[in-house]
Amino acid sequence: MHIPDGYLSPQTGGFFYLVMAPLWIAASKIVKRNLKARQVPYLAFGASFVFVVMMFNIPIPGGSTGHAVGGTLVAILLGPWAAMIMITVALVVQALLFGDGGITAIGANCFNMAFILPFAGYYIYKFISMNSAKDSFRRALAAGIGAYFGLNTAALSTGIQFGIQPLLHHTSDGKALYCPYGLNIALPAMLLEHMLLFGWLEAIITFLVIRYLQKDDPGLIL
């Protein structure tokens, strides 16, 4: 889901930097209001967790690869705005140091994985878990379901960004300038692989870690 340089037009890349700028500012303000000094190590853990989880490329035999993100999980620990900061840090290090995701696409990649994913995942989790007990099975299940849909919403958003490129930009003889695949290919490609495989991985990881924390330290769960 890490869009490389060149697959989105500079206009699309710039647009998502502009969309993310106020969100990053809002996240800083909201986190500054709520984050206690003793929670900073958890913030560092969350960013490290999503960084390393994204390195586990899982193959579709003979096809492409993909990975989980862990974004809903870190949102359940410190809230979606803190998740935005944690995932942004991981994505920026991945782009600058390891070339995983383009630098012109940092805005777009953060929109998908650091904004759409943790917010969708967290609010679905909140909606399903309602006011169930912190250590209830229902809450862990809600976390898994939130994680599944969080990742898939991000995949949908990524598919749209890829898929609109041939509509927006092409040469006079119809050749693509950026991502060559339209919505009819990009959307099903991104959605199917995440709905069938990577979403389940995201759900299982989230469910298991929440289940463990419920037994060990339920106070950590929002």
């Binding site: 984050l35 560092a44 490290s48 390393v52 579709i60 035999p61 840090v89 390891f98 383009g102 930009h169």
Partner: protein, 100 residues
């Protein structure tokens, strides 16, 4: 053990296991992630090279592209990346957190 220390231990175990993310795709002969093809792979897929991709794909040369390509470099990349992530978050956390 305090929960945070168990969580750091968990990260350490994940770092050591990261080569799985390299070995599994190689074993199943999987290509790149969708939309993340290298230039040669893309040319093979669509038969030409979109101008924008050709132009912008060279914009940034990452110091360690693709986290290195061997198992051991993958582990070192994971550890280095996480060291930088932790340092960055503690710096950010200094500004964004409040004392109780």
């Amino acid at each position: 053990m305090r929960t945070i220390n168990k969580l750091w231990l968990f990260i350490a175990v994940l770092i050591i296991l990261t080569p799985i993310g390299l070995i599994l795709p190689a074993h199943f002969k999987s290509g790149a992630a969708w939309g993340e093809w290298g230039l040669d792979e893309l040319r093979k897929l669509i038969g030409y090279m979109p101008e924008g991709i050709e132009k912008f794909s060279r914009l940034w040369s990452a110091p360690i592209p693709n986290y290195g390509s061997s198992g051991i470099s993958y582990i070192i990349s994971a550890a280095l990346g996480i060291f930088i992530v932790i340092t960055s978050v503690f710096l950010i956390g200094k500004f964004l957190s409040r004392k109780e």
